[in-house]
Amino acid sequence: MSDRLTVLKTYKLYVGGKFPRSESGRVYEVTDSKDKWLANAPLSSRKDARDAVVAARKAFGAWSGATAYNRGQVLYRVAEMLEGRKSQFVHEVTHAEGLSKSKAADVVEAAIDRWVWYAGWTDKIAQIVGGANPVAGPFFNLSTPEPTGVVTVVAPQESSFLGLVSVIAPVIATGNTAVVIASEKSPLPALSLGEVLATSDLPGGVVNILTGRTREIAVPLASHQDVNAIDLTGADADLARDLEIAAADNLKRVLRPQPVDGTAADWSADPGTHRLTAFLEMKTVWHPTGTLGASGSAY
């Protein structure tokens, strides 16, 4: 055994492309599946949530305006970075979820594959859900999907990495920006994901990661007037009801995954596209076509 002192890591939030401590200065103890201390994580306050929304709103213009192809490349780059830090995530997932090393490795690989899968969807989703609509009149009628805006994501409580990736990637793939509330019990993989995102080409503010008491952060975000949508995946039935009520105030789009009976979701299953389409708004344009006037002019 070496007599070297190990360097402990200070886990910090990821907001606006930077790594701040919580504005409140608070931290809480994160333990592994056997209640052994792992690290201290920031205990975010509602002001951290507010700052995260400001960062996400600021990033929204450029990220939603980037070409879908470019977004796909950036997301793929994130997967490359994840691959490089795989062992760190295996280590963290092992501790967080009490899995064996090889099981944890499977989970991390599935998460990286999931990220690549969503990266591929960025420039294809518009063709699946948009298109030309047949209408009874002399018009071209075209529908295209557009991102909803700033999305609050309550990440799954149990699946600290695969579940996390599975809820973040679809939100940002379509051009939204996200404020993510990491698993309360196992936040460390989420904070490390922040470090990966910071070293990819993802612009600061596109993903903002907060840790702490889920209810304390989620309630002000659900009522926040500048948040356009909320994903309730990681909220228990009580919290989800409260958040839905608060979210009704400014008509937020709400994703309430079914079933709500508390059975753990199977994150290894084929995710389908419903998480991509949950935070899209359809824009439909009508353009006149054919003969318009007595003169016979046409477009």
Binding site: R50, V53, R57, P220, S223, H224, Q225, D226, V227, A246, D249
Partner: protein, 316 residues
């Protein structure tokens, strides 16, 4: 020189006397000034005090549009916003003034009729101030005739920096005479171009001796605008001036104040330096445009308990 306070009549008798007076002012302790401004910026103002501070700050705003692209329509929209900043909450106070270029003063005057909001107009070849005195005076006359209640003039920084203090002084006196009793005069020093705190103190005294009703930090058109230290320094100058002459002078920081937090810091500076006498829009103003939206969002947060967003305030 009728406007000079009698106590300082000697100081403005000649260029040499004025120079001796200004250079005889005590030097500014830079470290102390910045530390004092920073420590006053750490005050925590919450709940009812915060609500009071927000309403006070709104009532002190000179809502400003000074762009080449200003149109009568934009000025009228700004006037409507100043009169009724938050249409969803009629208890929101009105702003103090609308600040525009002289050619827009009449438009603003008409739009603000009956609201009690003042029209402030920049003049004297704002923002550079590089024009001959007769041109500057004509600019001021124009604005006053168009109905401006307040004139924001810029000093000739070139003359100030090259030591021609009497020239600057006489220019302010001439502009003050042009304003007559129709308009209050705010004198802009452009602190960002004065380089040193000593210069800001000298400029403050120069402006006050020449008869300014308000001293104002900056135009908002250069890199460094109002900062807590330079505003603190000017507040100290008006405090000392009042102690020696009994004449009260207003202060207006302008440019770069964008958030409620910043605005409250300035209010703390005012309260701690010159006291409650200045905590009204008669004697303290904020030159700002985007600040109002942040104050309104914070006000909505306090009254509804939920965070507001830029979708709930006007764009300009």
């Amino acid at each position: 020189m009728p406007t000079t306070a009698p106590a300082f009549a000697d100081a403005t008798a000649s260029d040499g006397a004025l120079r001796r007076f200004l250079h005889g002012l005590p030097g500014v302790d830079t470290v102390g000034l910045e530390a004092r401004a920073a420590s006053l910026g750490t005050r925590s103002v919450k709940t009812t005090s915060k609500a009071f501070a927000i309403d006070l700050a709104i009532s002190m705003i000179d809502l400003t549009t000074l762009e080449g692209a200003d149109t009568p329509g934009k000025v009228r929209a700004l006037c409507a916003k100043g009169a009724n900043p938050d249409p969803t909450d009629r208890t929101t106070p009105r702003v103090a003034a609308i600040c525009v270029y002289p050619d827009m003063a009449q438009t603003a005057k008409e739009a603000l009729a009956g609201t009690g909001i003042k029209v402030a107009s920049v003049a004297t070849a704002f923002p550079a101030g590089r024009a001959a005195l007769p041109v500057k005076l004509a600019d001021v006359r124009d604005a006053v005739e168009a109905g401006a209640d307040e004139i924001d003039m810029v000093i000739d920084r070139g003359a100030f920096l090259s030591g021609h203090y009497l020239k600057v002084y006489e220019e302010i006196v001439a502009v003050k005479a042009e304003c007559g009793d129709k308009a209050r005069l705010k004198v802009i020093f452009e602190t960002g171009e004065l380089s040193t705190y000593d210069n800001i103190r000298r400029a403050s005294w120069l402006g006050m001796l020449a008869g300014a009703d308000f001293i104002k930090t900056s135009t908002g058109k250069v890199g460094v605008n109002a900062t807590p230290p330079n505003t603190l320094l000017m507040l100290e100058a008006v405090r000392d001036f009042k102690a020696q002459t009994g004449i009260q002078i207003g202060v207006k920081p302008a440019g770069g104040i964008r958030t409620t937090k910043d605005a409250i810091k300035f209010l703390v500076l005012v309260n701690e330096t010159v006291g409650e006498d200045w905590l009204t829009n008669e004697w303290f103003r904020f030159g700002a445009s985007s600040l109002l939206n942040d104050l309104l969002m914070q006000r909505q947060k306090l009254s509804t308990g939920r965070y507001s967003g830029p979708d709930y305030v006007t764009v300009d």
